[in-house]
């Protein structure tokens, strides 16, 4: 027969397990933080979140202080989702629908899209004006880090 004490002990173990799992999940999320990178031809080392939003929604291709810029995307994954949530404020479906509007109305092509951080870094490092995003833990030789104000 279960005593009130054993029930309480079971509840406490469940609570501790939940806290540990939550902490693990949060730490995993922390590892997926995003770094914005750019080709070395981009003159500035920082940009505003409003400018970043405009570049990645196709609203602009030229920013004062940065020059001509071209967005580079990750195809999917946690880093991509985090970037959209943090800087664009749209779901992946809404984000891609916005680009399709531009594409099918002849106002733009779809941005270059890559499967991995390494491919994004490789392209950004060798393409004038390219701006992309990768996980903060990924190395990015040849590309500069952009601070987002």
């Amino acid at each position: 027969m279960k005593t009130p004490l054993s029930c309480w002990s079971r509840l406490r173990s469940l609570f501790v397990s939940f806290c540990i799992l939550s902490a693990l999940a949060m730490s995993r999320h922390a590892h997926a933080q995003v770094t914005v990178i750019a080709n070395n031809s981009v003159s500035a080392s920082e940009l505003s979140s409003a400018d970043l939003h405009d570049i990645f929604t196709g609203t602009t291709t030229s920013i004062k202080g940065l020059g001509d810029v071209a967005p580079v995307l990750l195809k999917a994954g946690t880093t991509h989702e985090d970037f959209l949530t943090r800087y664009i404020g749209k779901s992946d479906a809404a984000f891609r629908a916005g680009w399709r509007s531009l594409l099918f109305s002849g106002q733009s092509t779809m941005p270059r899209t890559f499967d991995s951080d390494a491919q994004v870094v490789e392209y950004v490092a060798h393409t004038r004006g390219a701006i992309g995003y990768i996980a903060s833990s990924s190395p990015h030789p040849g590309a500069k880090t952009m601070a987002v104000r």
Binding site: S62, S91, A93, G98, R100, L103, M110
Partner: protein, 395 residues
Amino acid sequence: MTTQPESFVNRSRIMRITSALALLVPAAANLHAQSVDDINLQVHGYATQAFLYTNKNSWNGTDSNHGSASWTEAVVNLSVEPESKLHVGVQARYYLLGDYGNQISLDWAQLDYKVNSKLGFRVGKVKSPLGLLNETQDIDPAHLWALLPQSIYPIASRNSLLSHYGGIVYGTLPLGESLGKLEYAGYGGERILSGSDGFFQFLRDAGFTLPNGTNGPTFGASLIWHTPLRGLKVGATGEYDHENGEMDLAGMHGTLEDGPFRTPFFYGQYEKKRWMVGGEYQRIRLNSTTRFPGLPAFVNEVDARNFYVMTSYKASSKLAAGTYYSSTMNLKAPVSTSRFQKDWTVSARYDFNPYLYAKAEQHFINGTATGFNASDNPNLQPTTRMTILKLGVSF
């Protein structure tokens, strides 16, 4: 004077543009011996299939009052970027909607040179930047709605309004952080209305035919102010048109002259987080003059006041819902249910994944001004309820 059939004239025009682009694209690519990857060759497309049901009148000749699947569209888009500022693209469409379409047409085929964000040029068959939604009115994957407000974007006239032959100059001017940005576009060229366009349905119902449709000069300018309040934009467009064409009636040969006329649009949209609200007003005021030898000219006056208001909410990353009210009223038309149309619509969209989506929409329509032809509805009813289910895929 001999005249070419409309389909021949349009085909010849399309052939000229596509041939020019077909020559231009490889030429631009070879200029620097670029690879397919270097020129950013992209092929995209989408396709939709709808099921329609109306409780009374048949809509746009689809026999929807018996349930109909005759609304199908498929689009292929090809584009290249030989240079970072140069974008060349072409888009073709298969379109079937009841009495309209069942053919492959050219949506647009253009060369776009963007000097910078403040100045760009497009030439070819270009989308007309008029109103809030004209440039995207054919892009089903971009909208929550299965059918845009018919008061301003009647689907049976979409091909005529969507694009024109000519050019556009466009850009966005920063006004400073406290004033936002000003997006502008000026355009001109030739607008062609097919003889099967929805605008001429009342003439076809009366037995007239327009073998070559109508065509004539079109000019316009559009200004959109992106206000400092992020997500809020307001704008206005003005367009000038003057179209002429030939028409036949029971063996008689005459002419149709629309305008000259000016069409103003005023619109606004606000997006914040999951919500969107928007609206648009348009006024079409023109005299449409029909002339047949030996008969007095007949003038049909139009003064249509059209508007809609809409709102939508994104419940999750996959599900969105919304409603709009759309109204059209031709003050010069005889008093009857065909001089107006009021449409309450509720709509929902579900995205299964980034490529596949479904839409469900219910219309509560009062009046028969748009989409309900007398020839398809001998016993035309004043009100209709319409259900649209649509499945779409894009890549």
